[in-house]
Subunit: 103 residues, 3 copies
């Protein structure tokens, strides 16, 4: 039913840009942004160390596909990290509110 | 068996207040607090941009309902974000320790 | 198929040390580090308040056991928090890339 979509971006501005659009277009009810993180990953056979930001998107499972499509269109990376984490439950009042904010 | 409860609060002080109580009352074995995040969400037909904090609570599934009730009683919001994320496994030594700290 | 391993460490240096090794040894394709968090937990019958860091490791389920073993060998704690969170899906391009970076 409900889902978290975990995205990394190039920085807090990009997280804000994408997060705000996902809420404005009601693909998500709410987003949380962790402004500044560090990442390590392989790129062209070398380990890259990068400054990034995390965008945590709270939505329903039915919207995950559309969110992936929308984020890929908006994102500055060619192949951004977009991961779907399952939500098992929570405060019924909150989840009811979340559902009401999503189209 | 084990669970993460993901909560957003008005700021690091509120995360510390609620987190410390959940540990003191042994509803959780450990909490992690991400002090400062940004959030976007709909409120009264406008998109709100807010400074918040994330409280990550490590516990057992049997305690999730009680934690939701306790957090709603303690929280400054009327309808706070309280989400249950499933834990699939992990270090057996750590999960054994976690279980030993919870009542 | 895919998994997140959520680890807390004594600080950003330790998260960087362990994260870089997990990527270098191709146990993980990518790691994200939240540099500075606060934690509360019971220790010797008292509630400890500590400064820590979160290391988020993106990998495949088959590697979780080996990652737990490797982290325990590298970590400064005797019994570190190492938790396996399920990934339910995500961007197919990203997950394909992740798989390609892991041995």
């Amino acid at each position: 039913m409900f889902a978290i979509v975990y995205i990394t971006t190039s920085g807090v501005e990009e997280s804000e840009k994408i997060g705000e659009i996902l809420v404005r277009e009601r693909l998500a009810g709410c987003v949380n942004i962790i402004p500044s993180i560090k990442s390590f990953y392989w790129w062209d056979d070398e380990i890259e160390e990068d400054e990034e930001s995390i965008l945590i998107v709270k939505t329903i499972e039915e919207n995950v596909k559309e969110i992936i499509k929308r984020v890929k269109a908006l994102h500055s990376y060619e192949n951004p990290c977009i991961i779907h984490l399952p939500i098992k439950g929570g405060s019924e009042d909150y989840l009811k509110w979340l559902l009401g904010e999503i189209r």
